[in-house]
Symmetry: C2
DNA sequence: ACTATATTGTTCGATATCGAACTAAATGGA
DNA sequence: TCCATTTAGTTCGATATCGAACAATATAGT
């Protein structure tokens, strides 16, 4: 493995790390009630994929340790944005449902992000994003698989 | 802004966030001495760009708050991987120099990452990375500019 | 030169993150 | 059925992250 290649992959992950960083900071400026990105992302996921997910499914979806997801969900529950109910099919487990307040919060947040997204879209077109996504998905999937 | 586009950009940042997450976890498994990704990244930056940077320059480079960089540097200094010296040209400021121990640590870490990178390179070719980088750089630069 | 403003870095407190150890429930052999 | 192993989720403790407030120094405008 020539050093040049190592450098290339380092640069890739460096850029990705910084983008994640900037995205997080920008997004959290639009979230009220002290919500943070992981909490907002969970709300989105519950709507996009379907609610009724278990905490473990959510942790896997976001590739965070389950302890982190516990913490995230506790915050969402305290804010009244999700309901945590027992899972009849597996009594070790729970299921997470988004509440009306959660839906409203999400919608308001997205609305307030509108101008931001519009601005990004002016510089980075949807077409470009579509073209880039397969690469990112492949990279994600590979890292995911290699995780043992 | 149609909802479809919003969704697209959300997905983009979601993928990027997860990749950053996975990269961090994978990388930290190869770091000894309890070093974490930001500390390793700083060492890399000091070699790649040139050491003698100020903490503020480093914070900007990684787009983290300066308090976070203070913390990162304190860890590196305690480990003996960087020297923090006064900045003659600006007495508010400091300059960071990598030590021999820091260089050695970085080299060993990179060596131990070799197989990992090789494995990634098998799935994601350097060519693909090169093709993807301009998009990521553009996105990063835009977010950076939009940060006010 | 003088003063207002900006910049650098720190400390502090609140919160986020996560690994280890734990409990409870499910699963898979014998 | 019984017991070993696996899985879901929590608690706990250590550390990371970051905003606010601060002190020291630099810069800009007059």
């Amino acid at each position: 493995m020539p050093d040049q290649n190592t450098r290339l992959y380092f640069e890739l992950f460096n850029e990705i790390g910084i983008i994640a960083q900037l995205n997080r900071a920008a997004l959290e400026q639009h979230l009220t009630d002290g919500m943070v990105l992981p909490q907002f992302s969970v709300l989105n996921h519950l709507i996009r994929v379907q609610d009724g997910r278990t905490p473990q499914e959510l942790a896997s979806a976001f590739q965070v340790p389950k302890t982190s997801m516990t913490h995230t969900l506790q915050g969402l529950e305290k804010a009244g944005f999700v309901d945590v109910r027992a899972n009849e099919k597996d009594k070790r487990s729970k299921r997470i449902w988004i509440t009306d307040a959660g839906r409203t919060f999400r919608e308001k947040s997205i609305a307030s992000l509108g101008p931001e997204i519009k601005e990004i879209a002016a510089a980075i077109t949807p077409k470009q994003v579509e073209d880039a996504l397969p690469f990112l998905c492949a990279l994600r999937e590979h890292l995911d698989k290699a995780r043992d």
